[in-house]
Symmetry: C2
Subunit: 317 residues, 2 copies
């Protein structure tokens, strides 16, 4: 049973290398818009969050609710991202957009979204949304960041090397399982979106509760309950995705390490460019959370709780 799950899920996690070669793009120019608004939830929406952190020429606003902000009109670039094409929150924002005469660009494998959008990038079906992160993210990068063949090759080669040297990830997975602590992920720019991805991959792949926060804002609020009142900090295993900006965050981390009773594990990305490091970490996170799942004897694919919720929601109109 577990062996089957491993087989299937592994092949999907590892298909990221194939996904990076997905070259479809929209005919859109960022400079023609005031901002880019990406509507998407969960495993689909996270592609928008990652893109928002990479792309810095215009504000990228990620909508993760039923409601499209009032300011969104034809002067904004609107992109709906839903792997299934049937996410009800995303469809609700799409209907609002259409009512305002806003052109709907969509990234989806099918569903209602593929029928009602004005401009479609169709991606391969049959995956869990979170396994399709490459297919969901690449069209955004292809359209606005102009990623080249050489860059794709470089990224794929970095991921292949990571796969060859997986044993530190296996050890960390075992350490997380043995700790019986709650994973608490910290990061700073340009990887705050990946700390959210990390948390959600623990949630769905590993069935573990997990937390994430960006380091500096976290200091302003959570140090108090973590270090006073009996030291909540010891309940967590801290995992840090080391960002490039700013060196002050590393100073903060050093100070925290001295105060915390719990270990702080730093994960350093390999690669040179932001994109290379980003995909390295993305793949690292996927492998790690699946490894944790297998060590806990859970099926990383199993999210029937969610499927039940969707079924119950669909009964109530």
């Amino acid at each position: 049973m577990i062996f089957l799950a491993e087989d299937k899920f592994y092949s999907q996690v590892y298909s990221i290398k194939e996904q990076i070669n997905f070259t479809e793009k929209f005919s859109l120019e960022a400079r023609n818009f005031k901002a880019i608004v990406i509507s998407g939830m969960g495993g689909s929406g996270v592609s928008g969050r990652i893109f928002a952190e990479i792309f810095q020429e215009l504000p990228v606003i990620v909508v993760d609710s039923y409601k499209l902000p009032k300011y969104v009109d034809r002067s904004y670039c609107f992109i709906a991202v839903s792997y299934s094409g049937n996410t009800e929150e995303t469809l609700s924002t799409v209907k609002e957009a259409k009512a305002r005469g806003v052109r709907v660009n969509a990234i989806t494998s099918g569903g209602e979204l593929s029928k009602i959008c004005d401009n479609l990038i169709k991606i391969p079906a049959g995956l869990q949304p979170r396994e399709a992160i490459g297919y969901l993210l690449m069209p955004l990068l292809n359209t606005f960041a102009g990623i080249q063949t050489e860059e794709r090759k470089k990224i794929i080669s970095i991921l292949e090397n990571l796969e060859k040297e997986r044993s530190p990830i296996w050890q960390l997975a075992q350490k997380i399982v043995d700790s019986r602590k709650i994973p608490y992920i910290l990061s700073w720019e340009p990887f705050t979106s990946l700390s959210y991805r990390f948390k959600t991959q623990f949630n769905e792949n590993s069935k573990l509760f997990a937390l994430n926060h960006n380091l500096s804002e976290q200091n302003h609020n959570e140090l108090v309950p973590q270090l006073m009142n009996g030291g909540m900090a010891e309940k967590f295993i801290f995992l840090v995705l080391e960002g490039d900006y700013s060196s002050r965050c590393k100073v903060r981390l050093d100070i925290m390490e001295n105060k915390f009773s719990s270990e702080i594990i730093r994960i350093k990305p390999k690669g040179e460019t932001q994109l290379e490091k980003l995909f390295y970490l993305l793949h690292y996170i996927d492998i790690l959370t699946v490894e944790v799942s297998l060590r806990l004897s859970f099926d990383p694919e199993d999210v029937k709780v969610l499927e039940n919720l969707k079924a119950e929601l669909s009964k109530i109109k």
Copy 2:
């Protein structure tokens, strides 16, 4: 000791009514800008998050880090919010803004920010940043939302009524303390920013760990660890700030309630307009988290952990 803390903190929590009458504003017109960028951390930055949810004519981007997004130039309205005026992340973004020739509007009680900004709204000193939420938020509302005297009076009257009928809040505070569970705050629009405020007020006033998420996005990720793997949901006491959009969120909540072993407590705001409801909830949250603190025999004012961190940071340049 506790009695003194109660006396002092209570008078500050209750000074929100005075703060609502703060009428200072900037001479800025939203329509002259592509978007509004507000830089601020912790108890100061939360004013930007709340404003971003109220103001819907332009995107409002809240920066909670050392780094100003690359796109920010003179076509954006930049506002730095730091109660002390010495928050190092905020000052870092201010320096980047100045280097790009961007005009720096500041809301602060003093510090370095008051000296280097181009345009200052000075607010009363001597409070904790989180106690000054009215002073931090009103200049944003005064400038861009044109709040009138009648509205201010109405809000203050709603808060006075809330104070007269505090006993349900006292009961809820006792219930939270007795539960020995972790507060988990859920909300949806237009109160997702208040769910973050609620969490941070538990953190700093009550010295309690707490979590928050917007309801719908939460469903997409966290139902799995909350309902599988032994049911993490039972470790939480769920507090819900009921938003106006969308009714589907209430359907989601009903379904969750049937599945969760833990109670879901719904907090309904009083008032008619969004602003009235928002200030009702803001005051409710403050009173509740201070009441929890006092029942746990903590001093709600005490954040020496944070002050120590700042002192250590200042030693390392």
